[in-house]
């Protein structure tokens, strides 16, 4: 059985339909990249899985149990953690407090302040500084670390590289590889196609709220993805159908 199952999910902002009948599954231990242009509905989908957006229709299941109506904080206890777009750190709290405030939501996991610092060693010297004083890359590391502190089974990562310098993105992804190696299941949204293909086992491409292409990262060729990404005719003729 898959860890996460999304069934016919429909998300709306008023009259705007951001996600249209999306179904997908993520298996335990898998790393899946959600790609697609701006406004394709990727972030909304992640927020709906985490419980931050109430879907209009459809279901979200974890371990086969319907969690669609649960508020975000109880989903965290069941093992879902979202690193939100824009990081959303608690600016007035120190790095240490940002991490520790997230702890103990789910007892008995491997992530502690200590192990988070092993993955992000550059945070050690900043531990007692207010989060607001950190650089973008450091803040992203704290945001990921904060989510890890809840000991998630499923880590949702929204645009981890947004607004970061290439060096910082490299550092974040190197650490992310460590996290994945630890066995955490990851569903991430990434604009950078090359990076998404490199880190993920499987790629799901969204266009205007629908899944238009899905496949093993190794087996998909770049042209097909690019066509699906931009909604070109060839992709819809040969792909999953839009």
């Amino acid at each position: 059985m898959s860890l996460l199952a999304v069934e016919d999910l429909d998300c709306r902002y008023g009259l705007l339909q951001a996600v249209r009948g999306v179904s997908l599954q993520v298996a335990e231990g898998e790393t899946v990249a959600l790609i697609g242009a701006n406004g394709a509905g990727k972030s909304t989908l992640l927020r709906a899985i985490a419980g931050a957006h109430r879907p209009h229709a459809g279901r979200v299941k974890l371990d086969g149990i319907d969690i669609t109506s649960l508020p975000p904080h109880t989903r965290v206890r069941r093992g879902i953690a979202l690193v939100p777009e824009g990081r959303r750190l608690f600016a007035g709290l120190t790095v240490d407090e940002n991490l520790r405030v997230a702890a103990a939501s789910r007892a008995g996991g491997r992530w502690t302040v200590q192990t988070v610092l092993e993955v992000f060693p550059f945070l050690k010297s900043k531990l007692h500084m207010p989060a607001a004083t950190l650089s973008g890359g450091e803040q992203q590391a704290v945001a990921i670390g904060r989510a890890l502190m809840t000991n998630p089974r499923l880590l949702l990562l929204d645009e981890a590289s947004l607004g970061l310098a290439p060096v910082a993105v490299d550092a974040v992804y190197r650490s992310l590889a460590d996290v994945i190696r630890e066995g955490t299941t990851v569903l991430l949204v990434e604009q950078d196609l090359a990076r998404a293909l490199k880190v993920a086992d499987r790629v799901i491409c969204m266009l205007e709220g629908r899944v238009v292409l899905e496949g093993e990262a190794r087996s998909l060729d770049r042209d097909r993805i690019v066509n699906a990404y931009f909604g070109l005719r060839r992709a819809s003729a040969g792909g999953a159908g839009a």
Partner: protein, 293 residues
């Protein structure tokens, strides 16, 4: 020396205002709720203590300890039943809801206790009458000392709670970004209810001190609310230590004003409040005006 004595009495008075303002500041800091019923909740606390004192003959301080669980439960329930719903309606709805609550509390108290004036001063015994003279002209009243000590302890405990404990971090995190807090497993409703419970409990403490140092009736709340508001604004909105200092500053301003003329007591407090408002929020405009002139 009379001036020094006036400043000292102002600090004792200001500590009382700080206790009144503490919960108001906490609720604004954590939830951005301006609780217009805060003064009435303080007065309600005074009535609860009064009922316990009248029926058991205990001292008001012990009666307050007995009333404390009721105040905490009241705050918790108030958040979950009224304020949580109101928060969903934007910033203005909680303001209206607490305004309504203020009227409800006043009228329920009128119904139950009549408009008669009460005081817990007599039943507090030596606490209200005892005082010491030092250096001739400086008077230290026992009650003032107790209120000041309790105020400092209350603020210090709250500060330690917020900066050193995990529930405190959760409260600060939720205050900064409730959505992000939910996403790391914090139940924001529970955090808000805890904040309101603390605020109501401390408001009850303010009510107790009001009842001991002076008199109260069912409509005493709004006057207390104004002083609490002024303390919060003078100290800087949402800052805890600021609120303590704001309360002390307000108290000192009032007693210094009273030195000039007893009628100027409240007025000089209001003037300090207005001066702070103008300096803080009207500063830019004043500077521009100055540049043109």
């Amino acid at each position: 020396m009379t001036l020094a004595n006036a400043v000292l009495q102002g600090i004792f008075l200001g500590a009382f205002y700080a206790v009144l303002a503490c919960g108001l500041s906490l609720m604004f800091g954590v939830m951005r709720i301006i609780n217009l019923a805060h003064g009435d909740i303080a007065v309600l606390g005074a009535y609860i203590v009064l009922v316990i004192v009248q029926s058991t003959g205990l001292s008001p301080l012990i009666a307050f300890v007995i009333a404390l669980p009721a105040m905490i439960a009241l705050g918790y329930a108030l958040q979950l039943t009224v304020l949580q719903r109101a928060l969903r309606g934007g910033l203005l709805t909680p303001l209206l809801a607490t305004f309504g609550l203020s009227i409800v509390i006043q009228n329920l108290l009128l119904l139950k206790f009549s408009p008669d004036v009460h005081s817990l001063g007599v039943s507090s015994g030596a606490l209200t009458t005892e005082s010491w003279n030092v250096f001739g002209s400086i008077t230290i009243p026992a009650l003032g000392l107790v209120v000041l000590a309790v105020a400092v302890v209350a603020f210090a405990v709250l500060q330690v709670f917020l900066s050193r404990t995990r529930p405190g971090w959760r409260m600060r995190a939720t205050a900064e970004d409730p959505d992000a807090a939910e996403l790391i497993g914090i139940d924001s409703r529970n955090v808000y209810a805890t904040a309101t419970a603390i605020a109501v409990a401390i408001a009850g403490l303010g009510g107790l001190f009001l009842a001991i140092r002076s008199v109260f009736d069912p409509v005493s709340g709004p006057t207390q609310l104004i002083f609490a508001f002024e303390a919060v604004v003078i100290g800087g909105m949402g800052s805890l230590w600021g609120t303590l200092l704001g309360g002390l500053a307000l108290g000192v301003a009032q007693t210094l004003g009273a030195q000039l003329n007893p009628e100027y007591a409240a007025l000089s407090g209001h003037l300090l409040f207005l001066a702070v408002l103008i300096l803080r929020f009207g500063g830019v405009r004043l500077a521009r005006f100055g540049a043109r002139a």
